[in-house]
Each structure stands twice: as C-alpha cells, then as structure tokens.
Symmetry: C2
Subunit: 689 residues, 2 copies
Amino acid sequence: MQYFHILSFITAILAFMFALYLYLWVKSQKVENPEISRIGSLIKEGADTFLRREYRLLAVFALAVAVLILLVFPRPIWKSDPLTNLMTALAYLAGTALSALAGKIGILVATLSNGRCAERAQKGLREAFLVGFRGGAVMGLLVVGCSLFGVALVLLLTGNTSVLLGFSFGASSLALFAKAGGGIFTKSADVAADLTGKVELGIAEDDPRNPAVIADNVGDNVGDVAGMGADLFDSNVAAMTSALVIASSLGADSYSATAMVFCYAVLGLLSSIAGIATARVGRDGSPTRALNSSTYVTTAIFLILTALATWLIEGFSWRIWLASATGLLVGLVIGLTTDYFTDDTKPIVRKVAHASASGPAFTILSGTSYGFISCFPAMVGIALSALVSYRLCAPLGGSWALFAIAMSAVGMLSIVGMIISNDAYGPIVDNARGLAEMGGLGEETIRVADELDSAGNTVKAVTKGFSIAAAGLTVISLLGAFMSETNAALAELSRELVTGFDIMDPTVFFGLLAGASIPAIFSAMLILGVDRNAQRMVAEIHRQFSSIPGLKEGHADPQYGRCIDIATVGALRELVPAGLVAIVSTLLVGFTAGPRAIGGFLVGNIVSGLLLALFMSNAGGLWDNSKKYVESGHEGGKGGDAHKAAVIGDTVGDPYKDTAGPSINTQITVVSLVASLASGLFASFSLFG
Amino acid sequence: MQYFHILSFITAILAFMFALYLYLWVKSQKVENPEISRIGSLIKEGADTFLRREYRLLAVFALAVAVLILLVFPRPIWKSDPLTNLMTALAYLAGTALSALAGKIGILVATLSNGRCAERAQKGLREAFLVGFRGGAVMGLLVVGCSLFGVALVLLLTGNTSVLLGFSFGASSLALFAKAGGGIFTKSADVAADLTGKVELGIAEDDPRNPAVIADNVGDNVGDVAGMGADLFDSNVAAMTSALVIASSLGADSYSATAMVFCYAVLGLLSSIAGIATARVGRDGSPTRALNSSTYVTTAIFLILTALATWLIEGFSWRIWLASATGLLVGLVIGLTTDYFTDDTKPIVRKVAHASASGPAFTILSGTSYGFISCFPAMVGIALSALVSYRLCAPLGGSWALFAIAMSAVGMLSIVGMIISNDAYGPIVDNARGLAEMGGLGEETIRVADELDSAGNTVKAVTKGFSIAAAGLTVISLLGAFMSETNAALAELSRELVTGFDIMDPTVFFGLLAGASIPAIFSAMLILGVDRNAQRMVAEIHRQFSSIPGLKEGHADPQYGRCIDIATVGALRELVPAGLVAIVSTLLVGFTAGPRAIGGFLVGNIVSGLLLALFMSNAGGLWDNSKKYVESGHEGGKGGDAHKAAVIGDTVGDPYKDTAGPSINTQITVVSLVASLASGLFASFSLFG
C-alpha cells in the first residue's frame, strides 16, 4: 500500500462522515404538515418501487455480463490467466453495485429533503436553501467518495488496470441504463402531466387532482437524482481509470503518475468539502449566486492545493498541473457559455420567446438553430483543452502527452463533488415547490420555493455543459487507453502494433461514419420510448378523469399508483433495446472490421455524440426557460398564443434535455469502455479486419 | 488532344442538341388560358428579378475571390508562376459563370413548362407528364453537358489539375450561395404563405388572394430548379475533378485513369439521354413508375456500356469498373431506403401522422427521431462503398485505391442527367398544379396535376438521398485530393510529407471537433434566416389584408411584387454570412493549426455534415408526406387536430429539407475545395501548425 492509497481511503472516509453529518442535520429538520408528509411518502414509495424493479432487471443483465466477462474478457479464459478474468468480472459487479448504491442513497436523501425544504420555505429563503443544498451535497459527497474509494481499492487489490477497466465498465453500463430508464420515466410522466394538466384542463403544474402528478415528482428523483448520480459516478471513475491505464504504461514514471492521479482526486474532494461547507445564501438572498460562488471557491481551492502538492511532492510535474488546470478552467468557460444560451436574462432565450409569438413552428425552428450554434464553444473548448494539454506535456516524452489529456479530464472532474451537490439541489427544490403547492403552504412559500427552483434551473445548465465536456475529455483519453490495450494484445500475438488511426484509411473511415450514426439512433430510440410511454400515460389519465366521479372537482382522489406503474413498466421496456444497440454495434463493428475500424468508430461516436448531447441539452434548457420567460408575463404571458407555442417547445425539449442528451454522455463512455475491454478479442479475431 | 477529349466534346454537344430539341418541343405546346399566361409571366418575372439581383451580388463576390486567387492561390504570385495563378482565377470565373448559366437556363425552361404542363393536364395525365418531364430534362442535359464540356476544356487547355480545382471551386462556391439564397427565398415565401393562408385564413394553398402566392411559386423555381441545378453541376464537377487530380498522381497509369474518368462520364451522359428519350407514362398511368423505371433503364445501360468499354479499351481496369458499379448501386439502395422513411404508403409516415393526433410536440419528436434513424443506411452505405472500392483496387498499388473511391463517386453521379431531370420535374409540376388552380382549370385538371405533383414528391426523396450520398463519396475522394496537394506543397518546401491524418494526434482531433460544428452552425444560420425572412413577409401579408379593401373577398388584387421584393432582399441579406462562416473558418483553422488540423477539419465536417444533411432532408420529407397523408383523410383529415399538428411539423420541415439540408451538401464540397486550393498556403504558413 502506498501513501496515496492511504490518503484516498482517509479522504473518502472523511467525505462519508461529512455526508453523514449533513444527512443527520437534514433529518433533524421537523416535518409538521400532514399533507406534505403524506404526499412525500407517496413520492418516496413510488421512487423506491421503480428503483427496486429497475435494479432487479439490471441485476439479471449485470450477472449475464459478468459471466460473459468471466468467459472472454479481457482474453478468452481458455487462453489466459483465469484469475484475471474472475477479478475483472468481480470488479465489474462491484462497479455496478456501487453505481446502484449511489443512485439509491441519492433517492433516500432527496425524498427526505424535499418535504423539509418545502416546510422550511415558510420561514424564508436562506433556511430552505440550506436544506435543499445540503440534501444534494450528501449525494455529491457519497458519489465522489465511493468512486475514489472504489478505484483505489480495486487497484490496490489487483494492481491490474485491465481489471480497473472492468470496474469502470460496471459503473458505466449501469449508468447507461439508470440514466436512460430514469430519463424515460421522468419525461413520460412530465410530458403526460403537462399535456393533460396544463394544456387540456388548464390546472396548475402540481395540482393534486392530476393522476400523473406523483409520477412526475417521482420522475424528478429517479431521473435527475438517481440517474445523474450514476452518470457522474461513471464519468469520475472513467476519468480516473483512463488516467491510471495510461499512467501504467509510463514505465519508470508510472509510480509518480499514479500518485498524481490519486492526489489530484483527493484534493478535488477536499476542495469540494470546503466549498460545500461554506455554501450559504448571503444577505442579498440570491440562491443562484450562492451556488455559483461556492463552485468558484472550490475551483480556487483546488488550484491552490494542487499547485502546493506539485511544488512539494517530488516527481509531480508542473506541466501536468497546467494541463489539469486547463481542463478545469475550460470546463468553467463551457459552463458559462452554456449559461448564455439558456439564461432568461440573456438575449437568446428572449429571441426564442419572441419567435413563439408567430407560432410553435418558429419556437421549434429558432430553438433548434440556437441549440446547434450553442455547441460550438464546447466543441472547440474540449478540443482545445485536449490540444493544449497534449502540447504542454509532449516535451516530457513517452505517453506523458496522452496522460496529460487524461489529467485534463481529471482536473475538469476534480470539483465534481460540488457539481453534483448543485445538480442534486435542483430536483429537491423542484419537488419542494410541488409539495408546497400540494400541501397548501400559501402564496409566499410557493414564491420562495419558485425562486429556489429557478436557481436550480439556471445552475443546471452550467453543470450539464460541464459534465458533457468532462465526458468528452474522458473519452478522448479512453481512446488512448484503447490503443494501449490493443497494442498489448497485438504484442502478445506478435503482430504489428497500431501507431494510430489514419482517417485516410477507409477501414477507419468506415468505422467513423458507422460510429457517428450510433448516438443519433440511440437518442432517437429513447425519445420514441418517451413518446410511446407518455401516450400510454395520457390514455390512463383520460380514463381516470372520465371514470372517477368527482375527480375533476377535487372531491375524489386519483389513482396515482396506476400512473407510476405505467411509467415504470414502460421505462424498463424501452431502456434495454437502446442500451443494447450501443453495446452490440460496437462488438459487431469490432468483430467484422477489426481494431482500426473500432478506432474510427470511437471517434465518430465521440464527435457526433458530443454534438448531439450538447445540442439536445442546450436546446431543451433554452425552450424550458423561454416558456418560463413567457409565463413571467412577456410576449402576452400565460395563456396567450406565444405561451401555447412555448409549451410545445418545452414539451419537445423535455426528452431532449432530460432523457436523450444526458444519456448520450454515458453512451459514449460505455462504447469506449466496451472497445477497450474487447480490444484483445478484436485484435485476435475479426472477419475482414 | 486525346480521343477522350474529342468524345467528351461530341457527347456534350449531342446533349445540347437533344436539349434544344426538347426545348423546342415544349415551346411548341400551346398556351391558351389568359389567366395562366398572366400568372405564368408574373412568376417568370419574379424569378428573373431574383436571379438578376442574386447574380449581381455574387458577381462582386466572385470577382473578389478571383482577385484573391490571382494573388495567392495555389501559391502566392510572388513565389510562383503567375500564369498558373491567372489560369486558376480564370477557371474559377468560368466555373461560376457555367454554374450561373445552368441556373438561368433551368429557370427559363421551368417557367416555360409550368403553364404548358397545366394546360396539357386538361387533356390527361400522359401528355402533361411529358411536358413536365421534358422541361426538367432540358435542365438535366444542359447541366451534365456543361460540366463535361467545362472539365474537358479546362484540362485540355491547361493540363494542370490545380487549375481544375479552381474551376470546381468556382462551381461550388456559386452553388453554395445559389442553394442557400434560393433555399431561403423559397422557404420564407412558402412558410409565410402557408401560415397566413392555410392556417390563419383557411384558404387553399394556391389561392390568388394570398399576396405571397406568386413569391411561393417563384420560390419553387429559384430554390428547387436553379439551386438544385447549381448543386448537382457542382457535385458532378467536383467528382470528376477529384478523380482527375488523383489520376494525375498515378505516374505511368495516369493516362489510362484520365481516359477512364472521361469515358465513364461520357457513357453516363449517353445513358441518361437514352433514359430520358424513353421516359413516358404507360397505359396504367403511374408517373412515379415512369420516373423510377427510366432511372433503372439508365442505370442498366450505364453498367452495360461501361462494361463494354472496360472490355474493349486497353488499360481500363475491371476493378475500377466494379468500384464505379458499387457506387451506383449503393446510390440506388440509399435512394430506396430514403423512400422507406418518407413514402406515405410505408409505416413510418403513418406513425408520425398517428403521433400528430396527440399534438404538435409529438409530431416533432417522432419526426426528429425517425429522421435520426433514417441516416443510418446512407451513412453506412457511403462508408461501405468507399471501403469496398478501396479494397477492390488496393491490389493495383499506388494511389489506385484512392482513385477507386473517386470513381465510385463518378459512378454514383454517372446517371446525374437522369436524376436532375426527375428532380426538376418536381417544381415544374408543382407550379403547374398552382397554375391549374389559379387559372380555374377545374377539379379534374387539378386532380391530374395533383397526381403529377405527388409523383414529384416521392421521386424527390430518392434523388435527394442520392445526391447527398454522391456528395459524401465525392468529398471522401476530395480528401485524397487534399492530401496529394498538401504533399506536393510540402515536397516543394523540402519538408516531411503527410502520410495520413491520425485521430490520436490532438491537432487532427482538434480539427475534427471544430469541423464537426461547422455544418451545425451553417444550417442554423440558414434556418434563422428563413425564420426572420418569413416573419417579415407575414407582417407584409397582414398589412395587405388590413389595408387593401376587398382583398379578402377577392374583389381586389394583392401586391404580389412586394412579397417577392421582401423574399429577394431578405434572402440576399441572409445568404452571405452563412456562406462566409464555412469558408472563413476553414482558412482560420488552416492558418492557425496547419494542414494536419485541416485533415481533421474536413473529416469532422463530412461526418457531421452528412449526418445533419440526411437528417434534415429525411425528417423534412417525412413531415411533408405525413401532412399530406392526414390531408388525404386519415387521423381525422383536414382541419382536425392531427392536421394542425402535422402542418406545424411540415412548417418545421420546410427549411430543413429545402434550405439547410441540401445546402449542407454544397457546404461540405466548398470546404473541401477551399482546403485543397489553400493547402500550399497552409503548408508554408500556420501559426501553431
């Protein structure tokens, strides 16, 4: 065991203890309103039911994959050391289990915090903010703690980076399904509730008469909290894994490089703890400013601490520090430009709101156009950050330059504890707003909850841009990991090594075009899934309103459970084919066209995946905020033609930003990891490779 | 002069003579209805005005570029042979002039045929079909004849393939603006006419009371006829150019390869002439079948003739024949799969129509999803066709394999004369339908015109898939041309040659991500242009209805000219920035990050460009036909909720399929040619390259 292992374990445990403290603090807040606790427990129950059924299905899938890994990954068991295969399979299972745990705990805390946040909102903004934020922070700390602990433990026990790839694959394959399944659940409920409630019946968003209202609130938790936690757990593990895989190929320098990865991750977590501890709403009372300023505090602390470590510890390179700082700063810049396109105090949202006055077609056309334009800063930012890191560290020789790209991703993800806290804050206060309305806490409380919610939406744009950028950088460094793994396999087979993937080579080009179409198909399948599922739920809502006497007048209770059931069953039915398309197509291309085609496939996947993920997330956020802008009294306000058009834009944007967009993120990572794990197989067998 | 030059000139002249014969035949058809000839001449006048103003603007642009070429392309004039620069500049101007001529003649014939086709429709389907089709064929024959003549002449006079790149760049830069300008014109008129006419006032599509109705018909001509002619002229020239550039690098084999390019182009044109001559509607009276079967006839004749030529002529390779046949057959397959996604007798269109019953958001979501899925066959088809051609001819050694990819594109475009005839048929019969309605030719004639129109729409999907695929293959071979040019420049500078573009190289990767965002930005700018322009026109229509007494009741004439003016001025204002973004960003990346970044930039541009072009064209066609399907009485028929939603889908799809989608095509080609032309400059100067 090395000092950095010890440091990692201690810091992870520190994070767990701090999370426990925050959890107990949240729990100590009193719940007095009976209606809120009744609805709160309905939401908790619904979320638990969904998670239980989802995890049961995914457990079967994970076991099947584990058996497959045992048999053929990283090499066929009859040709290699069976112990490596066994360890990879176990690491895979550990990855899925930790990912599932992250989701489960997130739900636990979020459903605990939402009602308490709503009640505290009666006392004012500052206290309610703390409940929402600290609830989110529990999730943030646990996710980052688990990933640090897990990666350190797997590497300590096995010392084998291929096994670590298995761990990372476990985390990401579960994240893929959690994100996709949660995304389909949440958006089919949201779309169905909006269409029937707001549009057809003209009742408020969270009116308890709507049978889909609980499913909608459950959706916020299973989609945004559990899915997002799994997603960022996965990105974090993948970034560390790719850095460690490349570090292990650095020969004599491999010890220092490995130490650097862990130390930077430790310092990132410590900085996040500091940022979380100091977050509060100042006297001026802006929750957005509170969230953003604690992000800046975390960033600054991280940069200072890592600079100190680089200065003090022998073998740490200033060039790598610069690479990692570049990643982090580019991440912030990407977040801020995303904000420009989705913030309703900025011109773009207002232009789309204005276009809505001419009808829904213009809402869609203008939102789509600005969504496409908004990809540019992030695409170029990610590419620049990789290029700058590479050039900075090329003088170090060997694979250091590739390692620098990975460290740039580690840097970007260093403050992920803070990012998750901000991100999980969103659905908690969103739920709190709903509970305040359903619990009849009065106008003023709803206004406070609204303000908290709106801050959540603004910050969400930034954190989403951030997490897509981080995933982009991570998969670029996973490309490096894929090449190392492929060459290791080729060397064993005594075949010529791969020195790169030339786009002038039609085999690579073939992979490129095939890979580029996968994110499009994947996201289309998810959106169609939401579409079908929402249609089923709309039918159920219509059935309830026509068959339950007194429901419309509020004299009878709707059957919330039926809607939750439909959302659950439908989401589980739709998530599997989409996930399989991504995994199976990778294997298919690998086994037919070989490793060079897979190189192209990964890059095509990254390029079109980033483009579509950014487009969908940003366009969705833009439409959402345009609708809110119109609702706040512009362009004719609520009920006007512009509002109707803006609602249609928002409905289109919902599955874009909360189902397809963020899932593409995970899909890219999964494909990269599958390719790395199967690289040995592709190298030894492919039909036309 | 070689035998293939002579053959090329003779065949081109033959095509011109056949076109003249068809032109005179169309002209000999009588026009009797005074209203049709009045409105027909309004349309002709509007189209002429737009073209005149557009060409005047573009002439300034072309002259500026020609001066730039004279000064620095392919090498700075002070460092190279001034004669080459002069010839390149002149060839550039010739390319723009021929492209403009193709557009101008297309408009002339189309505006001549539309009224005659409408009147002939009174006598029945078969005669009216011939007028529409032969009108389109004049355009098809002239475009292909001009491109063959132009390429042969430039090569004969200069013997320099760099000069040929200049010619090709001239054709494509004008096509870029013609396509974008025409696309903005036609769609802003169409959208404004639909929104005010069909939606607000509930009057028919071509009701003469609508002030935008003439602008809408003018738009069909300037967008679909002139723009499409320039587009396919450009693709055809680019495909031949890239094949000839690579052929010139084949050393001893370069003569045979050059001969093959010209012979295949000659045989393609002859096959198209045969296909056009035999096209007629049979006794069963299906115009769709007539159009498709003449495409199949042309394909079969081409395959037989080229096989004969390969057998008889020494030095022609069967492997190249196979490559070119692969391209052609893949093109057909792509056309047919496109048809599956956009034909209303197939399930996809019906699914989208069914989704529309739940509201416009579902129309958009399902159309977007199927649009994304529909890209897959074409993406993989293009990649496979390049891969198969390459592998087939790799045993020939040298650059033969690269040449094979170019010949695959030449094969795909061989029947372009036939494709253009089919494509130009569409707007002619579309106009004829409008004229039949405005001229009051009665129900039966409108029904016949409707049937002709619907065949045009079905065939359009196939030809569009075809032309995007051809552009894709062409730009892949232009990549090869770019590498040859770059290496020629590097050799002159005695610097290390480029052997390929490795995606693991972060400079290439940087280019890749930057290049991938250009088509997104470019298409967004065009769509926003349509959006703004349509808004202006809607305002004008509202003004006319409120200020011209008796207009709504049909007692007064609207001021058609005002709407045409708005469409013209707006289109010209919007087209320049979008076109410049593509050209300037290429130069910017080249001069900052150097040739390797440009390699990545081109590939990123191709990958995301193909994806978006296919997505937009197919989704647009899908929405259009879903709307027609609903209008034919399904899902509640005209006026129902599904219809309203489907109309919104169609409005979104209009700028997708007729402005952005097809312009992206040209944008990809332009960027590739700019890169090839400037490769010498990038090689000798770049900031961080």
